[in-house]
C-alpha cells in the first residue's frame, strides 16, 4: 500500500472516530447542565418544561418590535409558517420579521403548540441519544439500580406445568409492561427499565436514592387501590374551588391538599391520557383516605365487548379473599362511587349498582379508555412474582468523588507512560506516544458509539489498556533496535523490525483478546464493562501500533530521508 493511501485510511479512521465521538462531546460540553438534568426527568416534567419555555418564548416574541428580524434561534418556527403561507397562496418572505412570522400562524395556540413541540422534541432527542454516547455509570453519577428476577419457576409450580418459551416471554413482557406502568410520572426522575437476559429486569434511577420508594415500586404494594368517593366532602370541595380556582396544583403539577376537607378524606386528581400518552389532569375528586380494597387482590383484567350493545367493557376478577372483601364493600355502599387509584391518580370512577363478589364488570368507556383501565387494573396483579436479587445505591457526592479520582488516575497514568516512552525511546518514543494518544481516542470513540456505560471498573480497564497498549510498540522498537545494531540502514532496520515483530504481536494480542471476549460473554456487570474496554483497547492498539506507527516511520525514512534512527541512547557501533 502506498503511503498516501495509508495516510488516507488513517485520516478516514480519525474522521469516523470523530463522528462516533460527537454525541459524547456534545453531551458533556455543549449541552447545558439544565437540559442534561431534564433528559433524566419524567415525561411529565419534560412536558411542564416545554410548556413553560413555550410560554416564555411567545411572550418574548410578542414583546419584540413587529419589524424586527426573527432571531436565528427561532428559525425553526418558519417551517410551519412557510407551510401556512403556501397553503394560503401567499408569497414566502425572504427575510423573516417577527410580524411575518405571526402572520404565518393561524392562531396564538398554533404558535404555542409549535414552540412546545420544539422544546419537548429537543429534550426527548437528548434522552434517546443515550445509546450513542458514553454514559456515566451509577457509581460515577449516583443513583440507584435494582436487578429483579421474575420467579418463573414459582409460576410453573403454581400452574403445575412447565411453561413454553412463548409463555415465559409473555409473562416477562407483561411484568415489564406493569413495571413501566407503575412508574410515577410525577416523580422528578424517570427510571430506566430494561430487560436483561432470560428472566432479569434492571431498573435504574439516577440521582438521589429513595430506597423505600424503589421497594414499594418493585413490590407494587399500595400502588393500585379502590377507594370510596366521599360525595359530601366533594360537594364542599367544589364550592371551595369556585372561589379559589387553581389553588390545588403545586409548581410541578402535584395536587395540594386543601385544609377545608374533613379528616379521613383526600383530594385526588382525575386523569386521562393525552396524545403523547401523558396523563392530563381533567378534574378533581375527594376520596376516603382508607382504601376499600387493595389492587393486589386482582387476578386478571381484560377488555370485552358488551354482548348487547357491543360497547367495550372491562371485566376484572378478584381472588377468593378479595371477592369476600369486595362483596362486603359493595354491599354496604350501593349507589356510591368507587374510584380506581393508581399511585396518587384517579384512573376511573364508577357507581356501584349492586353487591359484587369476584367477577366485576365496569362499563361506559370507549375502546381506548377501556384498554387503559384494563392495563391499570392489571398493574395490581403481577403475572410473575418478582424478587430483588441485587440492589445498589450510590450517593451523588460519592459519585463526584469517583469521577474526580478516575480522571486523575487516567491523566497521571497516561502522562507517566507518555513521559517514560519519550525518555526511553527518544524520537521513536514520540511516535509511540502519538500512537498511544490515537489509541485512546479510538477507544473512547468506539465506546461512545456503543453507548457504553462508564464505571470505575471500566476506567481502570482504560488505564490498564493504556499501560499495555505500548506493548506492541515496545516489541517493534526492541526489534528495530536489534536490527539497527547489526548495522542495517534505518529503512531496512524499520522494515525488518516490523516484519519480524508482526507475529509475536498478533499471537500475543489474539490470546489476550480471547480472554477478554470470554470475560465479556460470560461476565456480568462490572466484569463485562471491564472486558469490553480491554477487547476494544487490544484492537485499537494493534491498529495504531502496526499501522500508524509504521506509516510515521516510513514517512521519516522515505520522505524525510532520515538515516539515523532516534530510538536508543547507546551509540550504534559500526
Amino acid at each position: 500500500m502506498s503511503k498516501r493511501f495509508r495516510l488516507l485510511l488513517i485520516l478516514i479512521l480519525i474522521g469516523v472516530a470523530l463522528a462516533f465521538l460527537f454525541p459524547t462531546i456534545k453531551w458533556y460540553f455543549l449541552v447545558p447542565e439544565q437540559k442534561r438534568e431534564l433528559s433524566y426527568a419524567s415525561r411529565n416534567q419534560i412536558k411542564l418544561y416545554a410548556e413553560r419555555e413555550a410560554a416564555d418564548t411567545l411572550r418574548e416574541l410578542q414583546d419584540m418590535e413587529p419589524e424586527e428580524l426573527l432571531p436565528e434561534e427561532y428559525g425553526f418556527l418558519t417551517e410551519k409558517a412557510k407551510e401556512n403561507y403556501r397553503t394560503e397562496g401567499r408569497s414566502i418572505p425572504r427575510m423573516w420579521t417577527v410580524e411575518q412570522l405571526f402572520r404565518g400562524y393561524l392562531s396564538r395556540e398554533e404558535l404555542l403548540l409549535a414552540l412546545e413541540d420544539h422544546f419537548r422534541e429537543e429534550i426527548v432527542e437528548l434522552k434517546e441519544g443515550a445509546g450513542r454516547r458514553i454514559n456515566l455509570g451509577l457509581d460515577l453519577r449516583g443513583g440507584m439500580r435494582v436487578l429483579i428476577r421474575a420467579d418463573l419457576e414459582q409460576l410453573e409450580e403454581a400452574g403445575g406445568q412447565s411453561l413454553t418459551a412463548a409463555e415465559r416471554e409473555d409473562a416477562m413482557r407483561r411484568a415489564l409492561e406493569i413495571l413501566n406502568n407503575r412508574v410515577d410520572q410525577f416523580g422528578v426522575r424517570e427510571p430506566q427499565i430494561r430487560r436483561q437476559g432470560d428472566d432479569l429486569i434492571l431498573v435504574e434511577l439516577p440521582g438521589e436514592a429513595d430506597r423505600e420508594a424503589m421497594n414499594r415500586y418493585v413490590q407494587g404494594k399500595g400502588i393500585l387501590n379502590f377507594h370510596l368517593v366521599d360525595e359530601e366532602a366533594l360537594a364542599v370541595f367544589i364550592e371551595y374551588q369556585q372561589s379559589n380556582p387553581g389553588a390545588f396544583i403545586g409548581p410541578s403539577g402535584e395536587i395540594l391538599q386543601p385544609d377545608i376537607l374533613p379528616a379521613g378524606t383526600t383530594l385526588r386528581g382525575v386523569y386521562s391520557k393525552d396524545a403523547y400518552g401523558i396523563d392530563q389532569l381533567r378534574g378533581f375528586t375527594v376520596i376516603e383516605s382508607e382504601p376499600g380494597l387493595s389492587g393486589n387482590y386482582i387476578r386478571n383484567a381484560q377488555v370485552n365487548a358488551d354482548p348487547i350493545t357491543g360497547r367495550p367493557v372491562v371485566n376484572f376478577f378478584l381472588t377468593g379473599e378479595g371477592g369476600e372483601i369486595f362483596y362486603k364493600l359493595t354491599g354496604d355502599n350501593v349507589n356510591r362511587s368507587l374510584a380506581v387509584i393508581l399511585g396518587e391518580k384517579v384512573k376511573a370512577q364508577a357507581r356501584i349498582n349492586e353487591p359484587i363478589r369476584d367477577a366485576v364488570q365496569v362499563s361506559g368507556f370507549d375502546r381506548e379508555e377501556a384498554d387503559d383501565l384494563a392495563l391499570v387494573l392489571r398493574t395490581g396483579a403481577l403475572p410473575v412474582p418478582l424478587e430483588v436479587i441485587n440492589q445498589q445505591s450510590v450517593g451523588a457526592s460519592l459519585g463526584e468523588d469517583a469521577i474526580r479520582i478516575g480522571l486523575q488516575a487516567i491523566t497521571y497514568g497516561f502522562a507517566l507512560v507518555i513521559l517514560f516512552m519519550l525518555i526511553f525511546y527518544k524520537g521513536a518514543g514520540l511516535i509511540a506516544d502519538l500512537a498511544l494518544v490515537l489509541n485512546l481516542y479510538i477507544m473512547v470513540a468506539v465506546l461512545s458509539v456503543l453507548g457504553f456505560t462508564l464505571t470505575l471498573a471500566s476506567i481502570a480497564g482504560v488505564i490498564l489498556t493504556v499501560g499495555m497498549a505500548v506493548d506492541a510498540n515496545v516489541i517493534v522498537f526492541e526489534r528495530i533496535k536489534e536490527e539497527y545494531r547489526t548495522g542495517k540502514s534505518a529503512k531496512a532496520a524499520v522494515k525488518a523490525g516490523f516484519d519480524k515483530a508482526l507475529w509475536a504481536i498478533l499471537d500475543a494480542n489474539i490470546t489476550t483478546f480471547i480472554a477478554a471476549v470470554a470475560l465479556s460473554l460470560l461476565g456480568k456487570g462490572p466484569v463485562q464493562g471491564f472486558a469490553n474496554t480491554l477487547a476494544i483497547g487490544i484492537v485499537s492498539s494493534l491498529i495504531t501500533a502496526l499501522f500508524v506507527s509504521r506509516l510515521i516511520f516510513d514517512f521519516a525514512t522515505d520522505v524525510l530521508r532520515v538515516s539515523r534512527l532516534s530510538i536508543m541512547w547507546r551509540r550504534v557501533q559500526g
Binding site: 428476577r149 436514592a209 486523575q408 517514560f420 506493548d471 515496545v474
Partner: protein, 365 residues
C-alpha cells in the same frame, strides 16, 4: 548479539521458590480461614456510611460497639480516618427474603441512636441476594475455565502442545500465587478480583507468547543449538521488551492504586502482584516446562528406539552421519548439553538439510 544469560540454570531454584510461594498461599488460605468473599459471592448487604465529622468524632471501635448486637457484622474504615467513612458488611443468613429492608432499617436505627440520625449519611448501599451470588460464583469458575481452554486451543494451533501446556501451567501458577496473596492479605474477593485475575492471565500469556514466538524464530536460525541455548537466547533477546512492558503497565496500575479507594485499590494491588508474578513466571516457569517436556519426550523416544532397533538406529534414518557425529560431540561438551535435543520427527528442532555447525561463531557476534 548480546550474550545469552543462562536463565535456565536457575530453573530448579526458581521452581522451588514458586512451589514454596504457592504452598505459602495455600497455608495462608487455611490459616486465614479461607478467602474473604465480598457480597458478590456470599450474598449480603454492604453499606458505606459517613458520620459527620463536624458534629461528632467517632472511631471504628465506637461504630463497632454501636453495631455490636448485629451478628457477623464486618466493619472497615474507608479512606483517611478523619473523614469518618466506614464500610459495613452483613452476610445474609441463609434464605431470608425480607433481609435487605430489615437490615437496612436496623443499621440506620442503631447508628442513628448512637451518633444522631442527622449526622449519619448513607453514601452507598449494595445488596446481593443469595441466588444471584451463587450464580455469579458458578459463572466465575466457568469463565476462567473456558478462557483457559480457548487459550490452550489457540496456542496449540499456533505452536505445539508442549508450548501451550507450558503457557497454561504458567497461567495456573500466576493465578495460584495471586489467590495466595489475596488470601494472606485478606483482600476482598469480588467480581472485580476476577477481572484482575483474567487481566493477568491475558497479560502473562502475552509475555509468554512473545518469548515463544522468538523461540520459534530462533529454532530456524540456530538449528544446531541445544534447546536450552535457544530458550536462553530467546529470553535474553526478549528481556528488554519484557521489562519495558511490565514497567509501563506497572506505572499505569500504580496510579490506579494511588488514587483509587476500596474495591479499585484492591484491584490495582492484585494487578501489581500479578504483573510481577506474570513477568517472573514467563521467564522462569514457562521455558523450563518446555525444556523439561522436550527432554522427557526425547529420552522416552530414545529408549523406545533403542529397544526397537538397537543403539545404532536410535536416530531416524533420514538423519545424516554428519549430524549424528555433531550430536555426539555436543553431548561430550558438558553436562548441561548432555541430553541434547536429537532431531526426531517430533522434536521441535527440525533439521532438513546438511550444514556446517556454526553455533560458537554465532554467539560471539
Amino acid at each position: 548479539m548480546r550474550r545469552p544469560i543462562n536463565f535456565l540454570k536457575l530453573r530448579f531454584v526458581m521452581i522451588t521458590i514458586s512451589l514454596l510461594l504457592v504452598a505459602a498461599g495455600v497455608a495462608g488460605y487455611f490459616l486465614r480461614g479461607g478467602l474473604n468473599f465480598g457480597i458478590d459471592y456470599t450474598a449480603g448487604l454492604v453499606q458505606q456510611i459517613r458520620i459527620d465529622a463536624a458534629a461528632v468524632s467517632v472511631d471504628i471501635a465506637e461504630v463497632r460497639d454501636a453495631l455490636s448486637e448485629i451478628e457477623g457484622v464486618d466493619l472497615q474504615v474507608i479512606g483517611p480516618p478523619a473523614s469518618q467513612a466506614f464500610s459495613v458488611k452483613v452476610i445474609v443468613p441463609g434464605e431470608d427474603p425480607s433481609f435487605q429492608t430489615r437490615m437496612e432499617n436496623r443499621l440506620s436505627e442503631l447508628l442513628g441512636e448512637a451518633f444522631g440520625a442527622e449526622n449519619l449519611e448513607i453514601q452507598s448501599s449494595d445488596f446481593v441476594g443469595p441466588r444471584y451470588s451463587k450464580e455469579l460464583a458458578g459463572q466465575t469458575v466457568s469463565i476462567v475455565l473456558v478462557a483457559m481452554l480457548l487459550i490452550l486451543i489457540y496456542t496449540t494451533f499456533r505452536f505445539k502442545i508442549r508450548y501451550a501446556t507450558a503457557a497454561v501451567l504458567c497461567l495456573i501458577h500466576d493465578t495460584l500465587i495471586m489467590m495466595g496473596v489475596i488470601a494472606v492479605f485478606r483482600l476482598e474477593v469480588t467480581t472485580i478480583t476476577v477481572a484482575a485475575i483474567m487481566t493477568i492471565i491475558g497479560y502473562s500469556l502475552n509475555d509468554t507468547i512473545v518469548i515463544f514466538d522468538r523461540v520459534r524464530e530462533n529454532q530456524d536460525l540456530m538449528r544446531d543449538s541445544d534447546l536450552a541455548v535457544i530458550l536462553n537466547t530467546s529470553i535474553t533477546q526478549s528481556m528488554g521488551r519484557t521489562l519495558l512492558t511490565s514497567l509501563t503497565t506497572l506505572l499505569a496500575v500504580a496510579t490506579i492504586f494511588i488514587f483509587g479507594t476500596g474495591d479499585i485499590k484492591n484491584f490495582a494491588l492484585s494487578l501489581m502482584v500479578g504483573v510481577v508474578v506474570g513477568t517472573y513466571s514467563t521467564v522462569f516457569i514457562a521455558s523450563p516446562v518446555v525444556l523439561g517436556w522436550s527432554r522427557l519426550a526425547d529420552r522416552r523416544r530414545k529408549r523406545r528406539d533403542i529397544q526397537m532397533y538397537g543403539r545404532q538406529a536410535a536416530s531416524p534414518a533420514a538423519q545424516t552421519r554428519r549430524e549424528e557425529a555433531a550430536s555426539e560431540r555436543t553431548a561430550a561438551e558438558g553436562k548441561e548439553t548432555a541430553r541434547q535435543e536429537p532431531s526426531g520427527p517430533k522434536a521441535p528442532v527440525k533439521i532438513t538439510r546438511v550444514q556446517p555447525t556454526r553455533k560458537k561463531k554465532k554467539k560471539k557476534r
